[in-house]
């Protein structure tokens, strides 16, 4: 590894933070990364990303199931600090397709990349939402009846996505759309499958998994079903969400509050 002279100091800093443990990674990251986290750095970082990273991670950084490159717009699975992101970009991940960035890429450019990647996640500290999270919690548990279909930290119903960390993967605008236009951008996991068996009986449930030869669903009574496609008469995909549109039933302020509550749901909360 070749470090540029200007950043040689970062080596002992990183080692101190990572190995000795006197500094936390966060402390080291703040000291190092803050030098390159302006708006200009973010734009520069985006340029570096498009050139060096987008082929695998996608132009929108949302990953690519063909290359196996992960989505970088939510919580990162291999790093959760600036130093961690820097280290992965610099060193790669051994034994995977994540190669180290070129030694000839200066450290400041790597930090700009870090800044850009971090910017892809919405930091709640930087956002002033119109709603109140505590009021949103009341809507969630009360007239929204959200808990009948969703779990938060192990409590709630099963038919909908677990929302314990939904604030890490959905930004406030996306959450509002989820509440008021639930069919938009519905992931295939939440399609409904209607299966007609050979005897004509019908089983319907949410699409947990489907492949070329089989499919698996969970029905309204939380029963798990697995079918071999050639053993059933037919199956239909219903690509509409089972979640109600809350636009007509909740007030605008209720929805704002609910968005604030959902956006607060993250690992730290």
């Amino acid at each position: 590894m070749r470090w540029k002279p200007r950043f040689r100091w970062a080596v002992p800093l990183l080692l101190a933070g990572l190995v000795v443990g006197l500094w936390t990674e966060d402390a080291a990251a703040q000291d190092a990364g803050n030098l390159y986290d302006t708006g200009v750095d973010r734009r520069m970082g985006e340029g570096h990303f498009q050139r060096r990273c987008s082929r695998c991670h996608g132009q929108d950084a949302k990953g690519n199931d063909e290359t196996g490159a992960p989505d970088l717009t939510g919580r990162l699975s291999n790093a959760n600090t600036r130093v961690g992101i820097f280290r992965i970009i610099r060193d790669g991940i051994a034994g995977t397709a994540m190669l180290p960035i070129s030694d000839e890429t200066p450290d400041p450019n790597v930090w700009q990349l870090v800044t850009y990647i971090e910017s892809l996640r919405t930091d709640p500290a930087n956002i002033n939402l119109p709603g109140s999270a505590s009021s949103g919690r009341q809507v969630y548990d009360g007239k929204g009846e959200c808990a009948s279909c969703h779990m938060v930290n192990g409590t709630g119903g099963r038919p909908g996505p677990d929302l314990s960390r939904v604030g890490e993967r959905r930004d406030p605008d996306e959450l509002k759309t989820d509440l008021t236009d639930p069919d938009k951008d519905l992931a295939p996991r939440w399609w409904t499958m209607r299966v007609t068996r050979q005897d004509g009986s019908v089983v319907q449930g949410l699409r947990m998994n489907e492949d070329t030869f089989t499919l698996r669903i969970i029905d309204d009574d939380d029963n798990l079903w697995s079918f071999v496609k050639k053993d059933i008469r037919s199956y239909d995909r219903i690509q509409d969400s089972t979640m109600p549109n809350y636009g007509p039933t909740l007030s605008a302020s209720d929805i704002d509050d609910l968005v604030a509550y959902l956006f607060s749901l993250r690992k730290e909360s």
């Binding site: 498009q50 082929r55 063909e66």
Partner: protein, 545 residues
């Protein structure tokens, strides 16, 4: 020297070492492995117990005459052995089998020799790699070539390595191109007479592509044919200004060869930068083309460009399939080519004449093909800064996944995808060793919302005869057999067999991880096996004992 002398003698005499008897060599009854002469490679179809090259035979049909496993008993297949590749990556390899020994390449650039009947190891060769590789698309290796007693392997640091097939010892290694500039190598070479023909990867790094032929004994370069014309070639005018210097046109998959015509056929990749054609106005020859090269000199006999001035990254990196078929009442020597741009083509392989062309997957970029096979482009399909939605997707109607052709059914089989992407362009300067793409593509919807299928095409008409839907999609190659079978796999982790005439599903096995490679089949001690790489594992199946 003694071994070399024997090899030269064998090559010169053209002795069919295995062909002298019908008993496949194994390690127990007779010594495993015997030298692979050029005659054996020319007549590889006559010894179907072996799989002697990446696509099985020089015509790349991926058709095996083995029929012990057939449409009537394929549901009796069971797992015989599995080999775990120690590197965590995506296996894209097609093993070779020579007289009971299987040669398997692994990520990043390693090869092992296994007993083909048991999956147990003879030897291993680990290629030492630098830690500053430039790779667009993962640490892949797709297979080796063999001539005599030597294996030839591409490496990620753009080297060609010659490895002793009996021991795994390195015989020689030659640097094909500087990896620091973005060149790399992933595809299996192709033996053409007494030369090792091989391509190059790096089309996303502003390289200038070529096809090379090397001396199998010394590693010396015999000929190089550039896939982008230089200043001494009038076709350089198809590149604006100096853009030919960084125009890509890589050659990153294995080609085919016709011994009668002495022509090597090789596909070329996208022009660079991939998505911003503004800096390289013109047709950008010979990118996105198939080249017919003289097997002795490497001189270009003809070329056919599928996508002039490509701005969607639709490489013509598909394996050309050669066959003689009836077309409009006459027997023609043809090439079949299902292109990434979603059109299927049948070409006359002697002349390059366009015979047939039809979409085999969803496409929204061309009104059709003209009488010469040139696409008639639709307006507003070039990438923009805001993005424009076009089919097929960046990954294409198909990609490098090997198609197959059965002379029994007369059908061409291809894995097709009816996807779409939003295409963007951006300004980007060339920097040596850095990505040079000028844009990209973004998914519009999840892959589950698009159609994916194995499609059987009549090469005389381009018409679809059947399709087998796949959910969500496939990125695997295909192999077909005299047992009336089509084998392939899918990203949902299945390996399966279809009826080659009808497309009916006959057997499937969950192998637990994405199948990204092509199957192959062979026999040892009279028993047929079929092998597929899935995830990081080589699975081998045979009929129940």
């Amino acid at each position: 020297m003694k071994r070399l002398a024997i090899l030269v003698l064998v090559l010169a005499s053209g002795t069919l070492v295995l062909g002298q008897d019908d008993t496949p060599r194994t390690g127990s009854s007779t010594p495993a492995f015997s030298p692979v002469t050029w005659d054996r490679l020319v007549n590889a179809a006559d010894e179907p117990e072996n799989w002697l090259m990446y696509s099985g035979t020089l015509d790349s049909q991926r058709f095996s005459r083995l029929d012990q496993i057939n449409a009537g008993n394929v549901d009796d297949l069971e797992l015989k052995w599995a080999y775990q590749i120690p590197q965590i990556d995506r296996a894209e390899t097609v093993p070779l089998v020579v007289d009971g020994i299987m040669f398997v390449t692994e990520a990043p650039s390693n090869v092992v020799a296994l007993d083909a009947a048991t999956g147990r190891q003879y030897w291993r060769y680990n290629h030492e790699l630098p830690d500053d590789l430039r790779l667009c698309c993962g640490r892949n290796n797709r297979g080796v070539a063999i001539l005599g007693e030597t294996l030839y392997m591409s490496t990620l640091d753009a080297q060609l390595a010659a490895i002793d097939a009996r021991t795994g010892n390195l015989r020689w290694v030659t640097q094909v191109a500087p990896y620091q500039s973005g060149y790399s190598k992933t595809a299996a070479p192709l033996i053409v007479k007494d030369r090792v023909v091989t391509g190059i990867a790096g089309g996303e790094y502003g390289i200038r592509g070529f096809v090379d032929a090397y001396n199998p004994e010394t590693g010396a370069l015999d000929w190089r044919t550039d896939t982008i014309p230089g200043p001494d070639n009038p076709d350089v005018k198809t590149w604006a200004g100096e853009s030919w210097r960084t125009g890509g046109s890589a050659s990153w998959i294995t080609g085919a060869y016709d011994p009668d015509l002495d022509l090597v056929y090789w596909g070329t990749g996208n022009p660079g930068p991939d998505w911003n054609g503004d800096v390289r106005l013109g047709d950008n020859l010979y990118s996105d083309s198939v080249l017919a090269l003289d097997g002795t000199s490497g001189n270009m006999d003809w070329y056919f460009q599928f996508t002039p001035h490509d701005v969607h990254d639709w490489d013509a990196i598909q394996v050309p399939i050669l066959a003689d078929i009836e077309h409009e009442g006459t027997t023609r020597k043809v090439m079949m080519f299902a292109n990434r741009n979603a059109f299927y083509y049948t070409l006359d392989r002697e002349t390059g004449e366009f015979l047939v062309g039809k979409p085999y997957a969803k496409q929204t970029w061309a009104e059709g093909l003209d009488e010469n096979g040139r696409p008639i482009r639709l307006p507003d399909t070039f990438p923009t800064e805001e993005g424009v939605v076009v089919s097929p997707s960046v990954g294409g109607g198909t990609n490098w996944w090997s198609p197959a052709y059965s002379p029994q059914t007369g059908l061409f089989y291809v894995n097709a995808y009816d996807g779409e992407d939003r295409y963007f362009k951006r300004d980007e300067d060339y920097l040596e060793g850095e990505n040079f793409m000028g844009g990209g593509g973004v998914r519009v919807g999840p892959s589950e919302t698009y159609q994916s299928a194995i499609r059987a095409i009549d090469p005389a008409t381009g018409d679809r005869k059947w399709e087998f839907p796949i959910q969500p999609r496939s990125t695997a190659g295909i192999t077909t057999t005299a047992g009336n079978l089509v084998f392939s796999g899918s990203v949902d982790g299945y390996f399966f067999a279809l009826n080659a005439e009808t497309g009916e599903e006959l057997w499937h096995m969950s192998v637990g991880q994405r199948v990204h490679a092509a199957p192959m089949t062979y026999a040892v001690d009279g028993k047929q096996y079929v092998t597929i790489a899935a995830g990081n594992v080589i699975f081998t199946f045979g009929l129940r004992d």
